[in-house]
């Protein structure tokens, strides 16, 4: 027993939170929908672990970057629907720009000579 073995987790700390916030920016969703959404948007390249999703959601809740309300899902089930807050939006912007700078840096190192516009 114990935690599942195939646990690639996030690429780097904060990536899952960023994806959650981005998904929620598009539309509020509950946990299960979030998993589905991220999976689809990444063309099934990213498999979100529930084991990481819920702790991440709780962290975001605590930081007041998202808020949650009980509602009814498309399958007519009582679910907790998460919504991004203004603070969450701001946080997402900051994270995104720093992520992009980092990505740019990594790309430069990996592909020397090729500039990225």
């Amino acid at each position: 027993m114990g935690q599942s073995k195939q646990e690639p987790r996030d690429l780097f700390p904060g990536a899952l939170e960023m994806m959650i916030l981005e998904s929620l920016r598009r539309q509020p969703a509950h946990g299960y929908a979030l998993v589905q959404h991220i999976q689809q948007r990444s063309n099934n390249l990213l498999q979100v672990e529930e084991g990481s999703l819920y702790p991440a959601l709780q962290r975001l809740l605590k930081e007041k970057l998202v808020k949650a309300e009980w509602g009814i899902s498309a399958t007519n089930r009582r679910v907790r629907i998460y919504q991004i807050t203004p603070a969450g939006l701001k946080h997402l912007e900051r994270e995104r720009s720093s992520f992009e700078r980092m990505f740019e840096g990594i790309a430069l190192v990996l592909n020397p000579g090729k500039a990225i516009s």
């Binding site: 027993m1 946990g31 299960y32 529930e50 084991g51 702790p55 709780q58 009980w70 089930r77």
Partner: protein
């Protein structure tokens, strides 16, 4: 999220989370069903994909928590629940700890009060005490006080001191509405409080202006203690300026000493402080103030800032000669005793006390003993907890399986240990208080015992806490390690019994023999110390102690002096002897076992050239007629003092003195010459006396030393402290005789204050107080360790028998006799005892040799004591195993085999 919500609505948060995750799982299940699985398959698949829900839930909760604290809190709650579930274990553990920690706190508190506590003055490190170290020819150095002349000489010349003062304890008689009462106090130099640097609680403290002949601006200025101020005046500040009659003279209260200030002598509590110049007013002709040859004044000083104690000490050594030249009469400046002495500078920041010299080493020994007891307690508990941990192994395996980390499991067990230690520690404070009350009864100085503050203070509580944490770590570590190293799978699969078997052998191999070894050493120490006390009690004293009581006379205020006073004593003795309950009575200047006595130089009057020196010093005591009969000391030859004035120039010697002085020849009728030299005037005098009797040897100041050669002189005008002799009374009925005393006193000496009778038997007990203290406490601690070891052995053997019930059943079914079964069990115990004793033997030998100084007539290498100790251990060990052994013997083979 507000703090409030985080803490108090956490239940809601967690509820939401659980529900949310359940919904998630269901959705996932439905999706799998849509993909063509049946419900069961889908549910399993969803669960597998989701992972460990409990763990995820716990991790999701974490953002809301202070994880470390909360996990400890959870452990605490769980630990408390565990304790409630096994009250027997909890009570045993807490009591064990309470005794172990309490003993440590108790001894430490006393040690702190007596040895370590600093005086409540600013910069106590700069305070020093200056003493005169007088070396006897045999090398023994005694620490003596100084006098005013020496103090003044030091003040004149010393450059390393910023101030010096004299201090002498003095008992004052205060006239109150209810009569005359004695209060302790001190006469001090006018600058004493300034040098100490303390601030008054009300009014002012003494100044040099108060310390003048005839008194200062306020007449005779008196400072009272804070305690006296509260108890007698309800801390009323307006009492400053009030007059009191203190030892027959009027004094003015000028101020109140600060709270907690008890002078510079540890374990005394002075209520009155008066200037030194008040001493001759009270003592009159007997005053010591202007005597250059008497040593009576304790001298204290403050080092100049930045001056090292070594520097000041060197300066004192170099000042000694000058001080002697300046203060002593020429005739005695160069006598041997002066040449052999020197000034000694000692740290004064912690005050000074005779008790310190007497009790420092015994307390240190006790501290070590209780330390060992605490270790035994911990080892015992470690064994106990280990057994419990073994029993709870499946619990740990399950927790491990559910994802608990190793450290987390270890933490749980340490928290449980700490919890026990906290309870134990709390109880220990109470126990320590009890121990100290009991301990103080042993202090020979009863007033000091009452004055020593042994309330548990911060230092003591810190020690208690330290002990608790130390023991929790000690006994929690092993089971903690064990729990964290449980291998999950086999533990879950195997039955409990087989695991327990493995753990038991570990306990057996280490913990029980360690306890036995430590206990062995404690028992040896206790046996030797108790033998010391019984040897001391059995020594031939040369006098009786039972049914005898002493009354110190206080006849300073009687109009009679000299020979008239001698006659007053005589009349009082005759009167008290007529009283009911009294068998016989007498008086003496010194009584045995008070720890003090006088010496004088005696030579044969007939010897051509008397050699005066240390070798001719004899103990001397002035006694009245009937003294020997009253104390039961046998008269071997000649006669007792007759109580006639004609006996003034006679003396009685004891057997040792007769042997030394007259080389075993006939002493009766011979003359002795007593030579005295007055250190104040430098005059030498001699006086002859005729030996009229020989008495048996009797101990004098010390029980440990052989009875010293002693010369007894008749009480008379030459007796040194004629106004304060001791009445010695042998009673047929103690209570009646004691009741008769005040009547006799009021009848014949109405102006004198009543003094309390002292039981001689009690004084004897006081004389061996140190030894009794050590014997009783070491006995108690050894018994405690023995009890703990027995519990350990009992527990181990009980589980051994339980585990082997079926094996024993099989053996019996195959024809083993009950005797063989008994042997089987007892062999285990014997192995444990053997291992422990062998390991403990070295420790015990070491312990026995390190207490050599405390022993009397006991050879620390004597095998008998070790044999006795081993027998005690063996008896205790087998006694502890009797119940389990009986259970083993009474096993019914058919029942035992059926249960398998």
């Amino acid at each position: 999220m507000s703090w409030f919500r985080r803490i108090f609505l956490r239940g809601d948060l967690y509820g939401d989370l659980s529900e949310e995750m359940r919904a998630h799982l269901e959705e996932k299940t439905e999706q799998f069903m849509r993909e063509g699985m049946n419900r069961d398959e889908a549910e399993h698949a969803a669960r597998r994909a989701f992972g460990n829900t409990t763990l995820i839930e716990e991790r999701s909760r974490e953002p809301w928590q202070w994880p470390r604290i909360e996990s400890i809190w959870a452990d605490l709650k769980y630990g408390l629940r565990q304790m409630r579930k096994s009250p027997g274990f909890m009570i045993t553990a807490v009591l064990t700890l309470a005794l172990g920690i309490g003993a440590n706190t108790g001894i430490f508190t006393l040690m702190h009060a007596l040895l370590l506590k600093g005086l409540p003055v600013p910069e106590p490190d700069r305070l020093v005490r200056i003493a005169l170290d007088i070396a006897a020819p045999n090398g023994v150095v005694s620490d003596q006080p100084l006098n005013v002349f020496l103090l003044e000489s030091i003040e004149r010349h010393a450059k390393s001191l910023s101030g010096a003062f004299g201090w002498s304890p003095y008992d004052f008689v205060l006239k109150e509405d209810t009569g005359l009462h004695i209060y302790s106090g001190a006469v001090v130099s006018g600058n004493a409080f300034q040098v100490l640097g303390i601030v008054p609680a009300a009014g002012r403290l003494l100044t040099p202006a108060d310390d003048q002949r005839g008194g200062g601006p306020d007449g005779w200025a008196a400072v009272i203690s804070h305690r006296f101020w509260q108890q007698h005046y309800h801390a009323d500040p307006s009492i400053v300026g009030r007059h009191l009659t203190l030892t027959d003279h009027s004094v003015t209260i000028v101020g109140v000493a600060p709270q907690g200030f008890e002078g510079v002598f540890v374990a005394m509590h002075p209520d009155f402080y008066l200037p030194l110049e008040y001493e001759p007013v009270m003592r009159g002709a007997g005053s010591l103030l202007r005597q250059p040859g008497n040593l009576w004044l304790s001298v204290w000083a403050r080092l100049r800032p930045g001056v090292a104690r070594e520097t000041a000490s060197a300066e004192m050594t170099s000042l000694y000669r000058t001080a002697m030249e300046e203060t002593l009469p020429p005739a005695v400046r160069h006598i041997a005793v002066v040449e052999r002495s020197r000034f000694a500078l000692r740290p004064g920041g912690r005050g000074w006390s005779d008790l310190r010299a007497q009790y420092a080493r015994p307390l240190f020994l006790l501290q070590i003993l209780v330390g060992v007891v605490l270790v035994v307690c911990c080892v015992n508990l470690a064994g106990l907890c280990l057994a419990r941990a073994a029993a709870r192994e499946s619990e740990y395996a399950i927790r491990g399986a559910l994802g608990a980390a190793r450290l987390r499991l270890m933490q749980q067990l340490l928290v449980e240990s700490l919890l026990l230690a906290v309870f134990g520690g709390a109880l220990a404070v109470l126990f320590a208080w009890g121990i100290d009350r009991y301990l103080l009864q042993f202090l020979a100085n009863r007033e000091a015992a009452a004055a020593l503050s042994v309330r548990p203070d911060l230092a003591a509580l810190l020690i208690t806490g330290g002990c608790a944490v130390f023991s929790a770590l000690m006994f929690g570590m092993a089971p903690g390690w064990l729990a964290s190293h449980v291998s999950i799978e086999p533990a879950l699969r195997r039955s409990n019994q087989s695991i327990a078997a493995r753990k038991d052998s570990l306990v057996q191999r280490i913990f029980i023999p360690v306890q036995i070894a430590l206990t062995f050493a404690l028992v040896v120490v206790a046996v030797m110390l108790s033998a010391t006390v019984s040897h001391l009690r059995a020594t031939h004293l040369g006098f009786r102690v039972n049914n005898v009581f002493l009354i110190p006379a206080n006849f300073d205020k009687e109009p009679q002096k000299g020979l008239d006073l001698v006659h007053l004593y005589r009349r009082l003795v005759q009167r008290i002897e007529q009283m009911p309950g009294v068998d016989s009575a007498s008086v003496a200047e010194n009584t045995p076992l008070r720890g003090v006595g006088s010496t004088a130089i005696f030579t044969r009057a007939s010897s051509a050239k008397p050699e005066i020196g240390f070798a001719n010093r004899y103990w001397v005591n002035d006694v009245g007629p009937g003294y020997f009969a009253t104390l039961g000391t046998q008269l071997l030859a000649g006669r007792d003092f007759s109580g006639q004035d004609a006996d003034a120039n006679t003396c009685i010697v004891n057997r040792s003195a007769a042997n030394v002085l007259f080389s075993g020849g006939n002493a009766i009728g011979e003359s002795l010459r007593r030579s005295d030299r007055d250190m104040n005037s430098g005059q030498s005098t001699t006086r002859d006396c005729q030996v009229i009797g020989i008495v048996e040897d009797a101990k004098y100041t010390s029980l440990r030393e052989p009875a010293p050669p002693t010369v007894y002189l008749p009480v008379g005008v030459n007796t040194g402290r004629l106004s304060s002799l001791y009445f010695v009374i042998h009673a047929t009925n103690l209570a009646e005789a004691k009741a008769a005393w005040p009547k006799t006193l009021h009848e014949l000496a109405p102006g004198s204050p009543e003094t309390e009778p002292i039981d001689f038997a009690e004084q004897f007990d006081d004389a061996i107080a140190r030894e009794r203290l050590l014997s009783v406490l070491s006995g108690f601690f050894a018994a405690l360790a023995l009890l703990l070891s027995s519990i350990g052995i009992y527990g181990l053997m009980a589980s051994y028998v339980t585990r082997r019930t079926s094996e024993i059943g099989i053996r019996m079914a195959l024809g083993a006799t009950r005797a063989r079964i008994l042997t089987l069990v007892m062999r285990q115990v014997a192995a444990l005892l053997l291992l422990g004793s062998v390991a403990g033997a070295l420790l015990a030998v070491f312990a026995a040799h390190s207490i050599k100084a405390f022993l009397f007539d006991v050879n620390p290498g004597s095998l008998a004591f070790f044999a006795a100790s081993v027998s005690i251990l063996i008896a205790a060990g087998f006694a502890a195993a009797i119940l389990p052994a009986a259970r083993a013997v009474l096993i019914d083979p058919t029942l035992a085999l059926r249960s398998e």
